[in-house]
């Protein structure tokens, strides 16, 4: 697909129109193109390209999956399959702040499930969801390997170790 075709998809995508306040379509094309150029255009690169797009946009918009499929000469179904198989990818946009609760075994035995429940109560969302104001997304991860700090939550890359249910509201306030 050439840049022109990409622009049309870009223009017709309602999700994308919402994103205009973040970056103009022109900027986005340049960015996406530069991400695609990082990896050789063959099917082997699929996961690496999706990872880079996910890092840049926090999710994988439909029109980007279409573009990637065209570029790599893959059926869209296969791109979709990979995008939904791996935990690293999300097809839904995420909130401004990403909260990851570690559910590794060490955190589990130290009471991580209580932390998840408390976060769900305070944010009024379930794991995997984003608050209606798009401020917070709550997710759980299998193990962050910082077991000495468990139970552990990570908000936007910052670690909050030895968490207790009582500390949660304070930590959330500090992010706002």
């Amino acid at each position: 697909m050439d840049v022109k075709a990409f622009e049309i998809i870009e223009h017709n995508n309602p999700k994308n129109r919402e994103m205009k306040d973040i970056s103009s379509p022109d900027d986005e094309i340049v960015k996406v193109e530069s991400i695609l150029e990082r990896s050789p255009p063959n099917p082997k690169s699929l996961i690496a390209i999706l990872q880079d797009l996910q890092t840049e946009y926090n999710y994988l918009p439909e029109h980007m999956l279409i573009l990637v499929a065209e570029r790599l000469g893959l059926p869209l179904s296969q791109v979709y399959r990979v995008a939904t198989f791996y935990n690293a990818f999300s097809l839904e946009p995420k909130g401004k702040h990403l909260i990851s609760v570690c559910l590794g075994t060490a955190c589990h035995v130290r009471g991580a499930p209580r932390i998840v429940e408390r976060l769900q109560d305070v944010l009024r969302i379930e794991v995997g969801q984003t608050t209606p104001d798009r401020k917070f997304t709550l997710q759980t991860v299998n193990c962050l390997g910082a077991c000495a700090l468990g139970p552990l939550i990570v908000i936007d890359g910052k670690y909050y170790g030895r968490m207790t249910s009582t500390k949660i509201e304070k930590v959330l306030k500090s992010c706002e």
Partner: protein
């Protein structure tokens, strides 16, 4: 611009030059910047040291070193001051000026920052004397504290790439394989297949294109030693890979690292560039005529990709679904070519064996399991961290001598090894020597080395449910026994923990476990029932308490417990009253409070907030 090293003689000359440029009396402040310490603020501590040294005019005299993980994550951020190896723990930014003024300038020890041995109450000055380190044998992991992982010269100074130089100048590929076979090295990824034999099968396979892969998709929850090696000493893994490729006759290698490990990805990428630049990788390695290169692949978060055929599918850009074996990867692997896959730690053992010899290596460990193993000792344990011990050490020594026992004087209950594929080992087996066979005998397995300690407050039914919810999520869904079988077992366990367990559930679980174990396509399903089977085997009374008495003896399963206030201990301070999100607590100030069970959501906040241990779980 550096020059590529042409042969082993040049390498030796370069090493001597690096060592000669180093002053053994040089004072160096080494700050552990592994993920654990970084999460505790090690990066800020390092920056503070650099600033303070400049401020005090010591910038040019005192060296600093950002190192990989030292292992003692519990006491991070860790600072070691060389050459004396003064060991400071839980160092904060505010401690930095004092360390520079007192310890660096005046040679005084700051008592406050020393580690206190909880058993003797003594303060310990030097790293090697800390009990956590004293009982270890840190052959693979020990160099982490001595090198800056981004500097190849640090690795070279400690003998790095000498094993590669040795095999290239002195050994034929078959000699290398027989040396590895003789050493008794077995796969450190968990299954324990003899490494030399694996290499030999791949070498003997016909074909001009062969691949090797380093499996760094460390997915077991509670295990992080592969990451720490990749972050802290990436060249040791890479050197092992190049030696393996030379022995097997591979032209290309891949290293698959979890995307959740950004620092490991970064440090290994740097190592690859340096190795190429200096001639340890790429065309005509060390002038041998042998060419080999490695590509780094980032995993995308799927536990099943740790399985060999799943990993291969993922490298090929597809979903990581395992396929039936045979053909084994050694016969038909990546892109259909013969492929040898080993775990990160297995590769890191290779240079050690080549340097020190198989005879030396064989002396460490037990009859069937040679060498050392790196465990992550985590959970309800005082000294959380990474521990490298000779095979055959007992669980008791791990938990009490190295781990420092259970926090808050609680009672030890079990150790879980082998991640979601392993099992729970009860207190009655605490004198079990740890090796591949012994762990399998008791129903668990070595796995990649996770060792999770559980105390009296851990519910074993809940633990089994936890592991099954993990494997249920991570099952790729390709084969029915794994996909449906684990789901049904998880459902039964959920019913039991919700107080809806029925007589006969235990037997049903055992029956299902047997089907899942025998009929699943790959090891994920094949071993997923282990946590259930071992907890039933050793903690059947807990299952029965849940099913028959509708009680959770450990006080974990919400549906089976009640939070209550002990009127004798409650002094009516009102803290729990203020913190209860449900408004379920009432009482007059300075009078014992009580909890309305109708309103209580069992969130446990009252238990956490009470300073007088008056909130009890029944």
């Amino acid at each position: 611009m550096s020059e590529r090293i042409a042969d082993h003689v040049q390498l030796q000359r370069w090493r001597e030059k690096i060592i000669a440029s180093q002053d053994p009396k040089q004072v160096c402040i080494a700050v552990c910047c592994g993920t654990g310490c970084s999460a505790s603020g090690a990066g800020e501590v390092m920056a503070a040291f650099e600033e303070e040294l400049q401020k005090q005019g010591l910038g040019s005299k005192i060296a600093t070193r950002t190192t990989g993980c030292h292992g003692f994550c519990e006491r991070g951020p860790l600072v070691v001051i060389y050459p004396k190896k003064i060991f400071y723990q839980r160092v904060r930014v505010k401690d930095v000026p004092e360390i520079v003024t007192e310890t660096i300038r005046r040679d005084n020890i700051i008592e406050r920052l020393l580690y206190v041995d909880p058993t003797s109450g003594k303060r310990i000055v030097y790293e090697a004397q800390v009990p956590f380190y004293r009982y270890q044998k840190r052959l693979i992991f020990g160099k982490n504290g001595l090198i800056d992982p981004t500097k190849i010269t640090d690795y070279i100074a400690l003998g790095g790439y000498s094993a590669l130089a040795k095999v290239i100048s002195e050994m034929a590929p078959d000699d290398i394989i027989s040396e590895i076979k003789k050493s008794g090295l077995r796969g450190r990824g968990g299954a324990g297949f003899p490494t030399g034999q694996k290499w030999e099968i791949c070498r003997k396979e016909k074909g001009d294109v062969k691949y090797i892969i380093c499996n760094g998709d460390e997915g077991d929850p509670g295990a992080f030693m592969d990451r720490s090696l990749l972050e802290g000493n990436p060249h040791s893994v890479l050197e092992g890979m190049v030696i393996g490729a030379y022995a097997i006759g591979a032209v290309e290698g891949y290293i698959y690292i979890r995307n959740e490990y950004p620092l490991a990805v970064k440090n290994f990428t740097i190592a690859l560039e340096q190795a190429r630049e200096w001639g340890f990788l790429g065309y005509n390695i060390l002038g041998s005529g042998f060419s080999f290169d490695v590509e780094l692949i980032r995993g995308a978060g799927a536990f099943v990709c740790g399985e060999e055929t799943g990993l291969i599918a993922s490298i090929e850009g597809r979903t990581g679904e395992p396929r039936p074996r045979p053909p084994y990867p050694a016969q038909k692997g990546l892109w259909g070519k013969p492929t040898n896959i080993n775990n990160v730690k297995t590769w890191a053992n290779v240079p050690l064996i080549i340097n020190k010899g198989a005879e030396w290596y064989r002396k460490i460990g037990t009859e069937t399991s040679k060498g050392t193993m790196i465990f992550s000792l985590v959970g309800k344990i005082n000294n959380t961290g990474l521990v490298e011990v000779p095979m055959g050490i007992t669980l008791r020594d791990m938990v009490y001598k190295i781990g420092g026992g259970i926090p808050e004087g609680k009672k030890f209950k079990a150790v879980q090894t082998g991640g979601p594929s392993g099992g729970c080992i009860p207190e009655s087996l605490i004198d079990l020597p740890i090796d591949y066979e012994e762990l399998t005998k008791v129903g668990s397995m070595m796995g990649s080395g996770g060792m999770i300690v559980m105390d009296e407050d851990t519910c074993m039914v809940d633990t089994a449910k936890y592991f099954l919810s993990f494997t249920k999520e991570e099952s790729c869904g390709k084969c029915t026994p794994c996909r449906e079988g684990i789901d049904r077992m998880h459902y039964i366990l959920s019913e039991i923990t919700a107080g809806r367990g029925k007589v006969g559930d235990i037997e049903l679980l055992q029956e299902l476990a047997d089907y899942v174990r025998k009929a699943s396509l790959c090891a994920l399903g094949g071993t997923a029932p282990n946590p259930v089977l071992t907890t039933i085997r050793y903690f059947r009374d807990e299952y029965e308490a849940h099913i028959k008495d509708k009680k959770c003896p450990a006080g974990v399963c919400k549906a089976l417990i009640q939070y209550c206030i002990d009127p004798d201990k409650c002094n009516g301070c009102g803290l729990c009253f203020q913190s209860c999100p449900q408004g379920a607590i009432s009482g007059e100030l300075k009078r014992p409070h009580s909890i309305d069970q109708e309103k209580c959501s069992k969130c446990g906040i009252c238990l956490e907030s009470c300073k007088f241990n008056a909130v009890i779980v029944r």
